[in-house]
Amino acid sequence: MTSLSGSHTELLASDRKRPERRIQAAVRARGYWLLALIPLTFLSLFYFYPLLAILRLSLFPDGRFALDALRPLYEKPYYAGVLWFTTWQATASTAGALALGLPAAYIFARYRFPGKSLLRALTTLPFVMPTVVVATAFTALLGSRGLLNQILAGMLRLDAPPIHLQNTVWIILLAHVFYNTSVVIRLVGGFWANLDPRLGDAAAVLGAPPWQRFRRVTLPLLLPAIAAASILVFLFNFTSFGVILILGGPGFATIEVEIYRTAVRLFNLPVAAVLSLMQMAFTLALMALYTRLQARLTVPLDFRPRTLTQHAPRTRRERLLVFGMLGVLGLFLLSPLFALLLRSVTLGRGPTLAYYRELFVNRTGSVFFVTPIEAVRNSLFFALITIVLSVIVGLSAAYLLAGKGRGRLAAVLDPIFMLPLGTSAVTLGFGYVIALDEPPLNLRTSLLILPIAHTLIAFPFVLRALLPVLRGMNPNLRRAAASLGAPPARVFRHIDLPILARALLVGIIFAFTISMGEFGASLLVSRPQFPTLPIAIYRFLGQPGLNNYGQALALSVILMATTAVGFLGIENLRYGDIGEF
């Protein structure tokens, strides 16, 4: 009905002012190309240029193709094994994150309960935790002398610990689920929350049982968001590095790990370059598949404000469902974090704040000492720049891809936009060293290289969060507003922005999270006087002594707290009615 009246108004309008429309069309076309300039310029300067530079240097060291150096690649079946392991562990990890994340997303999307935003903030915290610290938390809980083993051994009267997870593939999968579930919760949950529940209700009226309603109505509508979350989680697991090295131990290797070992330890840049290309080719192929799928999945939707889609759990069954699910989440995602908090105030002695106090003391008179406040400030400073850059690049990329009649363009550009996520950080880090070394791009030792590198990982999150909403947005809303005489800026302000705001906030949350975490930080040349929180944590872990370990834990807790406060701050961003949706 609305669509009919929409095209009707347009017909009338086009009859009346044809010349103006042609000019407008030209402006729009030029606008699109200028819009394309933002993400493409950014990617060209900070992704393709350094990447091509390092690949060329690696593969053509003396101007000739380094064929000899590549021999290990085809002589050893080992590398095929690495590719296989990388793929299957990423698939399994993604399935795990979906299994835990989807029910949780449902709870967060459809129910209101006390402490909800705090809980949602807490579930995203794993994302920022340095791997070494998470590893010790996992060991504290699941290690052979860990809590779980002690409890089980006590209950079952066993002499030996029943659970052996360390250095097995299980702990890798567990850690990946621990790290990535929040991506599913936020991306799918955010989309789900604004989905019109009346569609399901209508099916119910027609007699569909709950499972049928989910399978036939809700699930198909959710698929774009689920696919978006899956692809991000998959790529994160596919290029996993720290988890594999530290929790999996030396018996496991993803392609990313192998690139690192080959380039940094064996100085074999040609093999590392080919492995990087393999990783990227895989990412591209996957993305091409995803893009084709995505185009078929999208249907226009009427998004509803959350006040209409959410309610408190009413029946006993609903309460059981909500609080049961929250219990599972708490056990799985929060217990390792809680273990860290507990250790930071009990390590080596009774309850103590000694490690927190010690953080403010420069006992060795070190030139690199920073107070935790300065480290927090540095981290927040980098995060803010990352957010600004990611929103600019991500928003323009999203509009570029979602534009009408841009299907073919999207099919080419979308995989390219996701490519940074599937690219080896080691390779890119070396690329920065050799390519960004001269004015006007003399950035390799600049403080800004960190947020720029973070933006490469973060803007795809903004893009993925926005796209399902932008594509699903009923175009008639805009048309109606325009036909009522609203200029484009007002259409954006009053139609797009309120509907997009939530998704944008989800994107901002991830940009913030990625920047606060440790992503690639160690692979860039750093200015030690400006350490971020994760770098300061690693510094404490560099030398023996319980006091250093205690301070690393205390600083990890500060990192968690800062990030949680940041989440709450971002989630409560309100400007007029924007963000209320």
Binding site: P250, F430, S522, P544, L546, N547
Partner: protein, 369 residues
């Protein structure tokens, strides 16, 4: 069809903003242009940059002293661990990141010299540095500090379990020590590589019982391997994180016990290192002037400073290694708790460079696959 998306124009405003921002970012990182105030002499630069690894640390007071003496500020850039740093240096050879490099060690020495990164300098301070540390006769790389990779054990654990602590790496293959040891992966960790080299130097690569036989036995005795030192020390070693780990023997440094004492203000260390002959590997760290540095003269003054007792005496309690300059006092704490291991195993830098990949590959096949 009117599908006007109003967004482009809004983002059009943002595009110049982005470009301006990036231009702004780039600007302050340009090297400070020193105006040629005194054209007759070579002007001293305002600042020199030391490129180093993540473990580099020194007190503010000492670093500032160079500035007070010379008017030249010292900037520090860190570039990962020793291996990552060397990679970065090689890649940036034509347009170096800094003027002076601190922290190439003897396991990477040949590689660094082959890459021809450094300019030679016969520093006067070499007279005070023991000859056995001078591994580069051309003096492109000058020894600045040294340390030892060796076994550490948990003293209390061995007392409680009524077992003699190990005093030889050969003990670790004894069934009595089954499942007690954690080592680092030589492919990814510098102490891990040093320990592999200890076994290479000790058991050799040919004969009845080679280093690979030793590792086969160690594997049969349930040795655990971690990627890096932090994972081993904090995650697995019983002392490290105060009770989470479950192995009382770890590959660490001869100076780890003194670090335990120093950072925890203890009376005596909870750990001990195995310093008997043939059980440790000496790691020598070097400094050098990057050949392409435009400030060669000032860089030499910086090298003199790094090798001077002022700087050298600050090394032990910041980086937990021994000063190379024999005139530098290592301090009471080090004298008391950081005994220098006797007769460390030696493998020449040339051998290491030639066989590193092969030894690591063979080790990986025997221990991990």
């Amino acid at each position: 069809m009117k599908t006007s998306s109003p967004i482009p124009r809004i983002l059009l405003v943002l595009l110049p903003a982005l470009l301006l921002f990036l231009a702004g970012c780039a600007y302050p990182t340009l090297p400070p242009t020193t105006p040629p105030t005194t054209p007759t002499t070579i002007p001293a630069p305002e600042a020199l940059t030391i490129v180093t690894h993540d473990s580099f640390d020194i007190s503010e007071e000492v670093l500032n002293r160079f500035h007070e003496d010379t008017g030249i500020e010292i900037k520090v850039l860190k570039s990962g661990d020793a291996g990552e740093m060397l990679n970065t240096l090689i890649l940036s050879k034509e347009n170096p990141l800094g003027d002076v490099v601190y922290g190439i060690d003897n396991t990477f020495l040949s590689r660094a010299l082959e890459a021809d990164l450094f300019a030679p300098y016969d520093a006067p301070a070499l007279a005070d540095i023991p000859d056995d540390l001078e591994l580069d006769p051309e003096h492109k790389m000058l020894p600045v500090d040294f340390g030892f990779v060796t076994l550490n054990y948990d003293i209390a654990w061995f007392e409680q379990n009524d077992l003699d602590p190990p005093d030889d790496i050969a003990d670790l293959t004894d069934p009595a020590y089954k499942g007690l040891t954690v080592v680092e992966n030589p492919a990814s960790s510098s102490p891990g590589l040093a320990f592999l080299l200890t076994t290479v130097g000790r058991f050799g690569t040919e004969g009845d019982y080679t280093y690979l036989d030793y590792w086969r036995d160690l594997r049969a005795n349930d040795v655990q391997v971690t990627e890096g030192w932090s994972d081993a020390y904090w995650g697995v070693f019983t002392v490290g994180s105060g009770g989470e780990g479950d192995r009382p023997i770890v590959v660490s440094y001869a100076t780890s016990p003194v670090a335990e004492v120093y950072f925890n203000e203890l009376e005596s260390p909870p750990t001990a290192s195995v310093n008997t002959p043939g059980n440790s590997f000496k790691q020598v760290e070097f400094v050098g002037i990057l050949a392409r540095s435009p400030h060669a003269q000032a860089a030499r003054r910086l090298i003199d400073f790094l090798l001077s007792p002022t700087f050298q005496e600050d090394i032990p309690l910041h980086m937990f290694v021994y000063p190379a300059n024999s005139k530098a006092d290592m301090g009471d704490l080090f004298r008391r708790w950081a005994e220098v291991p006797t007769e460390p195993v030696s493998v020449s830098p040339e051998d290491i460079a030639r066989h590193r990949e092969e030894w690591i590959e063979a080790w990986t096949d025997v221990v991990l696959r």
